[in-house]
Subunit: 325 residues, 2 copies
Amino acid sequence: MRITDVAAAAGVSAITVSRALNAPELLSKATLRRVLSAVERMGYVPNLTAGALSSRRSRMIVAIVPTIASPMYAETLQAFTDVLSQAGYHVVLGLGGFDGRDEEQLITTLLGRQPEGLLLVGAVQSTGARRRLAEAMIPVVQIWGDASTAADLQVGFSHASVGEAVANHLCDRGYRAFGVVSSDDPRALERLEGFRRGLQRRGLLLATQRLMPPPSTLMEGRAALEPLLRDLPRHGAVFCSSDLLAAGLLIEAGVRGVRIPGELAICGFGDLEIGRAMEPALTTVSVDGTEMGQLAARCLVDRLAGNRIPRRLSVPAEIIQRGTT
Amino acid sequence: MRITDVAAAAGVSAITVSRALNAPELLSKATLRRVLSAVERMGYVPNLTAGALSSRRSRMIVAIVPTIASPMYAETLQAFTDVLSQAGYHVVLGLGGFDGRDEEQLITTLLGRQPEGLLLVGAVQSTGARRRLAEAMIPVVQIWGDASTAADLQVGFSHASVGEAVANHLCDRGYRAFGVVSSDDPRALERLEGFRRGLQRRGLLLATQRLMPPPSTLMEGRAALEPLLRDLPRHGAVFCSSDLLAAGLLIEAGVRGVRIPGELAICGFGDLEIGRAMEPALTTVSVDGTEMGQLAARCLVDRLAGNRIPRRLSVPAEIIQRGTT
DNA sequence: TTGTAGGCGTTATCAA
DNA sequence: TTGATAACGCCTACAA
């Protein structure tokens, strides 16, 4: 069924049906009613592909995310999609993984959909992909990235500053020996660098660090406790790149009877529900994934509506002091 | 830039460029090379919207999921998208929530994209939406649903049977008093019904049940322990609709010094990582969300390739006996 | 192996 | 307020 079928049934031209659906204020009340009732009666569903081609407005946004198996990204994408859906956009999903393999290929085919905007979680790795994005001439919001890899629009926070803030926080609470258990994805590494620098500024050193490929899991956290206890003096503190790793440490500590924070202090990252639910509750860095997703979506919507918007938006990343430090 | 620009640059007609990209085997080696090099040099990205309109093949699949904030659905969608991406399809995301509000609206606009297939997580609530789907004449795979609400294609398992199997398992292990802590979403309720029926068959009754709206959280699990201990005799067993609820019970039990499974046995559902990582490890029902997602994707790909495929596919749901029962 | 003509279903543009 | 006409960029069908 096409728009002309509905038009014929309503005794109007095709363009009038189009207007009834897209710009009803242009039609007389009577015509509008007649057309809409025909649409309803016939169960007409407009072909958005044709509409997009003709109007050069696809009403689609592409979201490129490393994975949605990680709760942080899933939460962000959920919020992003919800807001865009309200605004009349559809979201096309691109799951890129953490390595840059096939990145350009993925981005290229997705750009072929003529999206009106694009969400990028993390940085683009390959220069080829970066060029493609630039050539697409559409707004690109980057989140979870950092200024150095910034795209067109940026919603986020400085990972390095977060690392430094955690270092200061732990020093202020009196800890003097430090370890890190971390994923080796680019964002986590930046936080680690910031952490190390923060310690240096206080004249302190990192005693031990353990890196592992993403995604981080509870089990890896559990497995990390034993070597950590070996390498780190008593009463030390560890900064984990994810609440999952931190919670894993906590669980294993429970099993082994290691007192937290007495024998080992733990700070996580992400403020996941599991951290709040553990006992003792996890000290962590809270970044509101939902807010980031919503903000990113609003940036795009505003920009596409022709509004001026700031190119850099900060989301607070704050340390939540709870029971493990 | 259009296909004709590339064609001009390569000294061929537009259709030859199209073939170089979509059916290279039809071209001579020399022409193919010439065209592809022009494509490469000019950074041409085909307009898939135009292609879809012309070929009537959108190469898009719509995925309708209640939420991706829940790890089970996120995992399934991740696997689904990965497989389809390999097969050259793009996935458009529709997040529907758990209630039926706006469901028909969402499905209708998404169908306007002319998807070639559709994934449905859970059942369609409204009859309007069901009619739309039927009229779309495209393959629809339903997962996480059950036979009674079955769509065109079905990948899943019987929630009722799972509930019954858990009842039998717990009885066989010697428990005689039973409780349930559950979300009230349709799938969870079906498992609960099956559980109750399984108990009845053994001449046993459910002593207490606590229902709550989805999504389930660890915190709700923690909060559920105290009333549960009040209402359930010692040495009872509880069946939770999610590993998150079950893990919450475990954490709270740790805090209160309630011995698990000595004083309370716990069985979860979903086999999430958190259940495996807890101490004692959680007895649960394992349904492979990744496999369901992959299977659903392959169903669609096969069907779209014109292959005959079974309309009902079962995924095993097996009880994993671990430390909490 | 390559090309020509025409149409996919909608909306922009201009006219009435 | 409504309509006629001509794109939008690509691919199917058929022809050479």
